[in-house]
């Protein structure tokens, strides 16, 4: 148009600015041209500029245009508020809204959608309720989009009852409404309710499928997450990044290595989904938890960009695989590259020391937390108690517990009890067991450990007494089972299981192996376990 010397009016420039939102480096020149042709003082054009700068994340420029505007309407204010929200500058957004109200500018439903988004980001339920009351009091038009925003706010602020109340009152619901409720139920652990919502949806999109898959994954139901993902694929939907993150998490929980590899090969390696740091982190975590720590480390080293989660994932993974030295080396490398360790980092580091029996190094790292501006949490104390207990420093471990600034939890006392069991310290074990029973009378592992201790001491009457105690308290022992993945199929076994069609062959194999053990030196110097079957 410019080259053709076609005369452009102000609306033309508004539309051009909308297009510039998705193009980098073009908006500035359009702004200059607006100035040259004299449309800068037009309200519509100014609003377009503010919106453009807001969408581009340039809130400073947006604010500047706003400040230079002699006249401002509701669109002007709303555009700038939205710009701040998109940059996650919630306080600035809310402050601007307050200023808007004090200037007597009447807000509309679009404004309130933006304000509710700010409340959601802030997670401030009280503020959200106040804004909701304001909307009702002012009689703002309750459009579907506005109601969805209110719903989303209550979900993200953790007020599921209010969200449900709003949802039930909505005469018209769309895919976003249902998806918000799925998120809410998922966050609240109400998987079955989320499932019902998902089932009742007449229309679903990738976001709603992702929400339901994430619901299963986040609530420790990985198999259902994977099944739903498979169903989604059959529907012809293509996953987005967050879908794959949830699916990989489910694979990690269930140990579904074969399936995870397929995800990796088909969607990521073949670039059907953009490979990001978030996805890379999910892969590292998955491969580590599925027993392929070598692959996880390779992925980590191949990452062009890493964040703190990347480092934490690989450090914790190495620790859980007993690669203590590698975990600690990674930690040192992380610090050299400028990353500041957080609480999770030190959980990995201390776990590595615990698994490696590195007492002195453990103490050193534990004390260094304060130097890194971190306060040790109960989980870090649990790691230290575990480290000390395993290595036989039981008295030291107990003293540490007594010095803890917070109340010791199950993990802390459990670590001590296990150490006592390992090293045969009956008296201290009694202390730990008593504390554990107070904390969780229904945890069968405590009683099993206690019974193990009695058995070690040949106190069979006490072993029976533990069982009597379990019965009296209604405690049921957690049954043990093992899973094996073969060619993508999972097989579950329990002790003395003969339900598998090949049970005879399986037992024959076992018998042969154990007979062959005669040929090997198999003298047990076993360490105890806290719970087994």
């Amino acid at each position: 148009m410019v080259r053709e010397s076609v005369e452009m009016d102000k609306r033309s420039y508004v539309f051009v600015l909308k297009g510039c939102s998705v193009l980098e480096g073009v908006g500035g020149s359009v702004h200059c041209r607006i100035w040259k042709v004299g449309f800068f003082n037009d309200l519509i054009v100014r609003n377009g500029l503010i919106h453009f700068y807001g969408e581009s994340g340039k809130v400073v420029d947006a604010q500047k245009v706003f400040d230079e505007s002699p006249v401002r309407d509701v669109v002007t204010w709303t555009s700038l508020i939205d710009g701040y929200v998109k940059r996650n500058m919630v306080d600035e957004a809310l402050g601007l809204f307050e200023l808007m109200c004090s200037n007597g500018v009447e807000f509309n439903d679009v404004t309130m959608i933006t304000v509710f988004s700010a409340c959601s980001l802030k997670g401030d339920l009280s503020l959200g309720k106040s804004v909701h009351e304001l909307v009702e009091k002012r009689g703002v038009k309750c459009s579907l989009n506005l109601m969805n925003a209110v719903l989303d706010m209550y979900v993200k602020c953790g007020c599921l009852p209010m969200a449900k109340e709003i949802f039930d009152k909505m005469e018209i619901k769309d895919v976003f409404s249902w998806t918000s409720m799925i998120h809410g139920y998922a966050k609240n652990g109400e998987v079955d309710m989320a499932k019902k919502c998902f089932s009742d949806m007449l229309e679903r999109n990738i976001v709603s499928w992702t929400a339901m898959i994430a619901c299963y994954s986040q609530n420790n139901r990985p198999w259902e997450a994977l099944e739903l993902f498979h169903e989604m694929e059959k529907q012809g939907l293509v996953p987005i990044e967050s879908t794959l993150v949830s699916v990989l998490s489910a694979c990690a929980q269930s140990g579904s290595l074969d399936f995870a590899r397929r995800i990796h090969d088909y969607y990521i390696k073949q670039k059907r989904v953009k490979y990001s740091v978030i996805l890379a982190n999910a892969l590292i975590d998955m491969y580590g938890k599925c027993g392929s720590m070598d692959v996880a480390r390779d992925l980590f080293h191949e990452m062009p960009e890493r964040d703190l989660v990347s480092w934490n994932s690989v450090i914790v993974g190495c620790a859980s695989h007993g690669l203590a030295e590698k975990a600690l080396n990674l930690f040192e490398q992380m610090k050299c590259t400028g990353f500041k360790p957080d609480s999770i980092t030190f959980v990995g580091v201390l776990s590595a020391c615990a698994h490696g029996g590195l007492v002195n190094q453990g103490w050193e790292y534990f004390r260094s937390m304060e130097l890194n501006g971190l306060l040790a949490e109960v989980i870090h104390y649990a790691c230290m108690v575990d480290l000390l207990s395993r290595s036989g420093h039981l008295k030291e471990a107990y003293n540490l517990i007594k010095q803890m600034p917070m109340e010791p939890d199950k993990a802390v006392w459990g670590a001590l009890l296990n150490g006592c069991r390992m090293h045969g310290n009956v008296e201290l074990a009694k202390v730990a067991a008593e504390k554990l029973i107070e904390l969780d009378p229904q945890d069968s592992g405590i009683y099993v450990l206690l019974a193990s201790l009695c058995a070690d001491e040949r106190k069979w009457a006490d072993v029976r007494m533990v069982r009597t105690l379990m019965r009296a308290k209604g405690v049921k022992k957690n049954p043990g089972y093992s899973l094996m993945e073969v060619d993508g199929n999972f097989y579950e076994f329990v002790v003395a299981d003969d339900s598998h069609p090949q049970s005879r062959a399986i037992y024959r194999m076992l018998d042969e192996i154990m007979l062959l053990s005669k040929l090997e030196e198999y003298v047990s110097d076993a360490q105890p376990a806290d719970e087994f079957s």
């Binding site: 008593e434 072993v463 094996m484 073969v486 299981d497 090949q502 037992y507 024959r508 076993a526």
Partner: protein
Amino acid sequence: MASSSFSGTANSIFSPNTLLKFRLPPSTLHFQPLYAAPHEPSATASPPQHSGRNTSRYSPQSRPRRNNKPDYKKTTTTIQKEAKPLTVSLISADDVNLMTLCNEGKFEEVIQYVTQGVGADFRVFEALLSYCTKLASLDVGEKVHELLIRSPWSNNVELNGRLVEMYVKSGSMRNARKVFDKMREKKLELWHLMISGYAESGDGESGLHLFEHMRKLRVLELNGDTFSAVLSACASKGAVKQGFVYFELMKNEYGIVPEIEHYLGIIDVLGKSGHLNEALEFVEDMPIEPTKEVWQSIINFARIHGDIELEDRAEELLIRLDSSRNMADKPLAPFQKRHSQFNMLEGKDRVNEFKSTIQHRADAYEKLKGLSGQMRDAGYVPDTRYVLHDIDEAAKEQALMYHSERLAIAYGLISTPARTTLRIIKNLRICGDCHNAIKIMSKIVGRELIVRDNKRFHHFRDGKCSCNDYW
């Protein structure tokens, strides 16, 4: 924090208050049998001369089982519950229908009534023995046996056959033999059951002795099933030469044409003894075409003995017979989970639990002690500290043998190609004995075995673990 501890005595882990609070309830009342004479028929029982009429005849397992696995069965909650004293006193026989109670599954009540003197007929005893066999509970079985002895049906051939089967299934070969020896009439199937029972209990030698005794009697016509049982006993004993002798005997003296079952029996004899080359030669010399079961058996033994080359070769031959095993030609299917679904962290609510409640008597314990002693002599020392029952050491060893992670590994070994790394997920912490056993397994089979328990990962390779036995 102030420390706290139990204030109990030095010899007790509980305080006196705890002991008082959880004192066990009074024991069950004892009822005396009311039989005036051991063979006096009851009012509801049919005359002994009519035994067997209109009732199903005893039909023991026709084919012997090949493995030495204890026959653990799914237990019922009834037997696991603490017995409650019955509120009944003397009950008239006319007021109780024992068979109805049996049909309702109230076997414990039936036992109580019969103990009190209510007469049981053939059908009732048959039902009780069937229940004991399924339960594989030696204690209950012995109680029923005692009741049978005191009843008019003590000499019934059918019921005594059931009794033998019950003892075999309960793992008490000594008791089974006692009943067997007293029986005046013994069907061929019962001999098979005894021979196979000895084989499965690891006492193949006794099974072979029984077979020789059977031959000397010359009162029964032996068949192919007889020699299937005999070969399983040879395999159990590791008697290679005897196995071939009996194989030839079957053909030459008894005129029985070997079937695939018998060829598999010889392969078992050779394979269990580690004679893999001989097993392969035997297969190659077979007059009939080897079936996929044959090659699968070779594969299994090759895996056990770490003969990777033989395993690969047999695998290739198996694929020719069963192309469905060639996974390379199949697209990777989405995951499938066998058995019921469960939440790994909430498995206690969903996992099907199959646990044994076998209560071995002293004789069985002695036998198991002997077996354990043999293994100890060879260097295998299971750590029975992980069995939290006040039971015999041999029974503890048995209890340790079939932990779920070992079963999973066994399945992985027979289901995956050579050199494949196996990954097992255990929801609880692996016990020390399994940890040591799996180290040995990794060395024997030459594979990396990765176990993820609820604490960490264990990488077993070449007889060592990544945790360095420190976990």
